[in-house]
């Protein structure tokens, strides 16, 4: 899993983690993916675009160290170097927190572009944690992206919103507006996958979701207690000891950088058949 890449890593590839629907696991995924990339030695920065409701700092465990933020940098009150928080666990990982107080209008296209351009000179990967919705914050997070990870739960409203977002990615972004540019490479990351509920027919299967969305699958992250534990202690789940969720994110990170990893459905330890029958009749 920790094999060094033979290929040169890209300089400053911008990847947006987006979804449309709220609470599907974008921030969890942004934290895990950026930590996973950094762990492999890639210089990585993760940016919180959720202005006014920042949570990435909590998930990364650096909330006590925030002095300046993304908005301060855009507005010229601080330099980028001062706002970047170097992760204490992995030295190739940095966090650019956002402001709790300002409103979304503080994100300007020009400002975001300037910050991203500066980050590109220093980082291999720039991970943008998008807010929910399809309003300004989400649009700014995706506008300059080279790739997109569309976080989706196997559930109708989430799949529907992912479809909206895929539409925006292919129309309202710089790559879409620039003639001759390759379109954004979008992949679905299916999270909170619950095999038990899928077996009972309550939840759509991976195949159902992919058939509807018609984009490649980046990975399948199981519903897992490890995610809650990791967020409690402020550690990206990938760094918080072995778990199925961590293994699933490791696989996703490997695929993101072009490695071929066979798709597997990891599950939280499942109750045996006997238990399930009992549970159903009860």
């Amino acid at each position: 899993m920790t094999t060094q890449l033979t290929e040169e890593p890209p300089k400053g590839k911008v990847i947006v983690i987006t979804s449309g629907k709220g609470g599907v696991g974008k921030t969890t995924s942004a934290a895990a993916i950026s930590a996973g990339l950094a762990k492999r030695g890639h210089k990585t920065v993760v940016i919180d675009f959720d202005v006014g409701l920042r949570n990435l700092d909590m998930t990364m465990g650096c909330e006590r160290r925030v002095v300046f933020d993304f908005i301060n940098v855009i507005q010229g009150d601080a330099r980028l170097k001062q706002a970047l928080i170097r992760d204490k666990r992995i030295d190739t990982l940095s966090i650019l927190p956002t402001s709790q107080t300002r409103d979304k209008d503080a994100l300007t296209k020009e400002g975001v572009e300037k910050v991203l351009d500066e980050l590109k000179t220093e980082f291999d990967y720039i991970i943008c944690d998008s807010p929910a919705g399809i309003e300004r914050g989400a649009q700014m997070a995706m506008y300059f992206a080279d790739e997109a990870v569309v976080v989706t739960n196997p559930e109708v409203s989430s799949v529907r919103d992912s479809d909206r977002v895929l539409g925006l990615l292919s129309s309202q972004t710089r790559r879409a507006e620039t003639e001759g540019a390759d379109p954004i490479k979008a992949q679905v990351l299916l999270t909170r996958h619950d095999s038990a509920r899928i077996d009972t027919g309550e939840m759509m299967t991976v195949e159902d979701v992919l058939e509807i969305l018609a984009v490649p699958l980046l990975g399948i992250v199981p519903e897992s207690k490890a995610v809650l534990r990791a967020s409690n202690v402020g550690t990206p789940v990938i760094l918080d000891g072995p778990s199925n969720a961590a293994a699933a994110y490791e696989d996703a990170v490997a695929r993101l950088i072009g490695e071929e990893v066979e798709m597997r459905v990891l599950a939280e330890r499942r109750p045996n058949l006997f238990h399930r029958l009992l549970g159903r009749t009860a």
């Binding site: 909590m58 465990g61 909330e63 006590r64 160290r65 925030v66 002095v67 300046f68 933020d69 301060n72 009150d77 601080a78 330099r79 170097k81 001062q82 402001s99 709790q100 107080t101 809650l228 534990r229 967020s231 409690n232 202690v233 402020g234």
Partner: protein, 90 residues
Amino acid sequence: MSFFGFSLKSRRPSSAQTAKDRLQVLLAHERRGGSPSPDYLPQLQSDIIAVIRKYVTVEDDGVDIRMENGQEVSSLEINIELPSRTTAAG
């Protein structure tokens, strides 16, 4: 064992307890100032640069402010990169 769904035993260190502690620290700061990083920091920074410039030449990005919010106290760490001694003395 807890029969009523809660226990009077002293809490063992759990991740939920860590979560609570972290939130208490963070929210105490946010409620006080609306933001964990006070709004005066950018101004403070340029004031510091101005004062130091009375004595030595420092670059604009030679001043680095870091803050760490704690339960009882917060600390502000200010690192100032001074030019090498020859220039400073000159």
